[in-house]
């Protein structure tokens, strides 16, 4: 581990209908969770181009979280299935370039699962903190 004060940089790309709403619910319920996450809202995880995630890692992200609706619950019928397939494939790409595939996570958090959202963030932050800074960090700038 690099530095004691090191904080992971984690980006979350989350869907408007389920995970973003779930994250809002965690807020309404004042469920506390770690601060080391920044969210970008898209309408559906189906929108998440694998290149966005590669760009994030290239920019020095320590972890990326993609979160959508549960299977069968997608507001757009099946965007989350397609996203999950892409993330699965992308994980093997990450492994091949020597990046721990645990740095990319896809989760499914519904609009009513505020508590689960908080748990997911805790878990992601723990995982990434354990892995330490991304090896791509030094090339990032």
């Amino acid at each position: 581990m690099a530095d004691e004060n090191w904080k992971p940089k984690i980006i979350a790309i989350i869907c408007n209908w389920c995970s973003y709403a779930g994250a809002d619910l965690a807020g309404s319920a004042r469920t506390q969770y770690p601060t080391d996450i920044r969210a970008i809202r898209v309408m559906c995880t189906g929108r998440v181009d694998p290149l966005f995630i590669m760009k994030a890692f290239q920019d020095g992200a320590d972890g990326v979280l993609v979160s959508g609706c549960h299977f069968g619950d997608c507001h757009y019928l099946e965007g989350n299935y397609k996203a999950a397939k892409r993330m699965f494939l992308l994980k093997s790409v990450l492994k091949n370039i020597g990046l721990d595939d645990k740095r990319l996570r896809m989760t499914f958090v519904s609009a009513s699962e505020g508590a689960k959202w908080a748990k997911v963030i805790e878990d992601v932050v723990d995982t990434i903190t354990e892995l330490g800074p991304s090896p791509l960090n030094e090339f990032a700038r």
Binding site: K9, I11, I13, N16, W17, C18, Y20, A21, A23, D24, A26, G27, S28, R30, T31, Q32, Y33, T35, R38, A39, I40, R41, V42, M43, C44, G46, R47, V48, D49, L51, F52, K55, A56, D59, G60, A61, C69, G72, D73, H75, Y76, L77, E78, G79, K82, A83, R86, S110, A111, S112, E113, A118, A140, R141
Partner: protein, 673 residues
């Protein structure tokens, strides 16, 4: 496509909201505002107590005019709450409303990091930087208006569904009322009396059923289920499965050339039918033939054949004779109808209370559920209204009522929520026993009596005065005396602080309610979310309890959460009103988030065509080569195509690749490293 205005340089205004102390309590708003003013493209940064207030909104409009802004960022609550407000303010200032971006620093920041002011402030700065990056690339978008089909659909023909259908129809809207059972009426038709007025349930329900049946604007589709749903607000195509009924209505018979034929409800067929099976309407407590009606007041009054038990002997066909109403070879039929809006009123089922083994339901003869009690005490029920013990037919004198039977249960077996109407109907049951059986004593085992409605608390006092015994304590177990079949109810009387054992002749479990069996399948068809306990999720728990996140789909009654009859009817009227608005307006605006094909780049590979769940994309020949074409009316803007296009030839409006990449870069490369 609308002309996109070109601006030389982005000029962004950032407005940070205190939200009283909601945000300012853990985030240093001034520091965020000052930081924002240092960001590239930002020409003005300001803060205000409540940005959503009129002075706050005026700040935005004024700044747009004075500073010639090209984009607006408000750092405040969730865009799911106030994006429409600030878009309107942006428009007020003379800018296209889609040149607005929101940074969520309340729900996803100050409220979840209440004790980490430094980190929360840093996170808010990042959020503002990310939003500014996107705002710098936002473009003018024009929402598309589409016409609304002048018809509505209500799914579920219980009291909620009927009320919604009546309201819609009376507002002049053609309404399809779809019910899976052979008759409308729902759960309420199974009840004997209603609390606290003690109205006879059927007596107040059947006039409504008749109104529904007679209404010129209602097309009643009983014994019908929703098979598939396509489309969007204003233009839903709903495919219905009309289950094989085996009996023709007068109209259907006429269509087949049997003028004057069709079922008239005479019941001769039922008399000759040799098949006997349990009656689901009476919860299996009385027999029923394979050709049946639930009760004499059914609407429509047409018999139905249960083809699972029918042996096709043909006796009914013979006795029906010239009416030729029976068709033993009937098959399911499908019909697609176009509607503009939809109300879901799919109701509830009783929690399978046998899962709580300690109370012995289905093991002990004399333990019944409250719904079974309703049928037993009802004059049109299996016993003609004489309450009897199932074990020996005797009249019970001591009856125990176990409240919260599966409700307010955190053991994982029952339901964590309050089912809301069990307290009140159990009080009503206690009253009915005292009234009908001289000398009878009801024992009510309760945790709390929740008599929250109008005249409910008064009703509670009345039952106390009538002599019901109230014992505060959750029932630990019920044991049966194998000889007398009497029951020993064991609990702690928490007011006396000692364990007690009450011997009773019969126990009625006030079972919890749960979403009806078909709710899960139905909600998936309509793209509606559910809360953790399976009830359909409203758009906002307080301010939009009838709406859903799917535009054009509304909720009524218990499918949204447990509620009693007055609340169900009230919500149904609300849902009907909400569902009638788009229809009466005649057109709806769709968010302009659709896909756009960049034809110069598109290689015509067609990968996107199969990815689209809405068949909105197609390959067409243009200038001698294949390119993709979007049907804007079909595109819902999910971006699944845009996330995949190998050439980057699909632009998702408002969520373009440059905009999202700018956000990623702004977070990871733009901050204080």
């Amino acid at each position: 496509m609308a002309e996109v205005k070109k601006y030389e340089e982005p000029r962004i205004g950032v407005f940070v909201c205190h939200c009283g102390t909601n945000i300012a309590g853990s985030i240093d708003v001034k520091a965020v505002m000052e930081y924002a003013s240092t960001l590239p493209n930002v020409v003005i940064a300001d803060d205000y107590q409540y940005m959503c207030s009129t002075p706050g909104q005026n700040k935005i409009a004024e700044a747009i005019e004075e500073q010639k802004l090209t984009g607006v960022v408000v750092a405040a609550c969730s865009p799911r709450l106030h994006e429409p407000t600030f878009r309107a303010a942006t428009k007020e200032g003379g800018l296209n409303p889609f040149r607005f971006e929101m940074a969520n620093i309340r729900e996803q920041n100050s409220w979840v990091h209440m004790h980490q002011p430094e980190e929360a402030t840093a996170k808010a700065k990042d959020a503002v930087r990310i939003a500014v990056a996107k705002a710098s690339l936002l473009e003018d978008l024009i929402p598309k208006s589409v016409p609304v089909e002048q018809a509505a659909m209500v799914v579920g023909g219980g009291v909620g569904g009927m009320q919604a259908a009546l309201d819609l129809a009376s507002a002049g809207i053609k309404t399809y009322l779809v019910e899976k059972d052979p008759t409308i009426g729902g759960r309420m038709s199974q009840l004997d009396k209603t609390f606290p007025t003690l109205d006879c349930s059927q007596c107040i329900l059947t006039p409504k059923m008749v109104d529904v049946f007679r209404h010129e604007n209602i097309e009643l589709l009983t014994y019908t289920e929703v098979e598939a749903v396509e489309g969007y607000i204003g233009n839903f195509d709903v495919t219905l499965r009309k289950k094989a009924r085996g009996v023709l209505t007068t109209e259907e018979a006429e269509a087949r050339g049997f003028v004057g034929g069709g079922c008239n409800g005479c019941g001769d067929c039922e008399d000759v039918c040799p098949v006997i099976r349990p009656n689901p309407f009476e919860l299996g407590m009385s027999p029923m033939k394979a050709i049946y009606i639930y009760h004499p007041q059914v609407s429509p009054l047409i018999y139905t054949i249960d083809f699972d038990s029918c042996v096709k002997c043909g006796l009914c066909v013979d006795v029906c004779g010239d009416k030729k109403a029976i068709d033993l070879n009937a098959v399911d039929e499908f019909e697609t109808v176009k509607v503009g809006t939809i109300v879901l009123a799919t109701g509830y089922d009783i929690f399978p209370v046998e899962e709580k083994h300690e109370w012995g339901y289905k093991n002990y003869d004399n333990v019944i559920t409250s719904l079974e009690f309703e049928r037993l005490i009802c004059a049109s029920g299996p016993t003609g209204g004489h309450l009897i013990r199932p074990s020996d037919g005797a009249t019970p004198k001591r009856v125990g009522f176990v409240l919260c039977a599966g409700s307010r249960d955190n053991t994982g077996v029952g339901k964590p929520y309050c089912s809301r109407f069990c307290c009140m109907y159990s009080l009503k049951h206690a009253h009915q026993i005292i009234e009908k059986i001289p000398g009878a004593v009801p024992y009510i085992f309760y945790m709390d009596i929740r008599s929250f409605g109008k005249m409910y608390e008064e009703f509670y006092y009345r039952i106390q005065d009538e002599g019901a015994k109230f014992i505060r304590g959750r029932v630990a177990n019920i044991l049966e005396d194998p000889v007398t079949k009497n029951l020993h109810v064991n609990t702690e009387d928490t007011l006396l602080g000692r364990p007690i054992d009450v011997e009773v002749d019969m126990v009625v479990l006030a079972a919890a309610v749960q979403p009806s069996e078909k709710t899960e399948a139905t909600r998936r068809l309509f793209g509606v979310s559910c809360s953790q306990d399976g009830w359909l999720l409203e758009a906002h728990p307080k301010l939009n309890p009838c709406g859903t996140t799917t535009a054009g789909v509304y909720l009524a009654g218990v499918c949204q959460g447990p509620k009693d009859i007055p609340d169900t009817v009230a919500q149904a009227e609300g849902a009907a009103s909400a569902a009638s608005i788009p229809i009466h307006r005649g057109e709806v605006e769709l968010e302009p988030y659709f896909a756009v094909c960049l034809e110069d780049i598109c290689a015509g590979c067609g990968m996107c065509v199969n990815l689209c769940p809405y068949q909105a994309l197609a390959l067409v020949e243009k200038d001698g080569r294949r390119v993709m074409q979007v049907t804007e009316a079909k595109c819902k803007g999910c971006g699944t195509c845009g996330g995949f296009c190998p050439g980057g030839a699909i632009r998702m409006q408002h969520f373009t690749t440059p905009q999202i990449v700018a956000q990623i870069d702004a977070f990871l490369l733009g901050g204080e490293q």
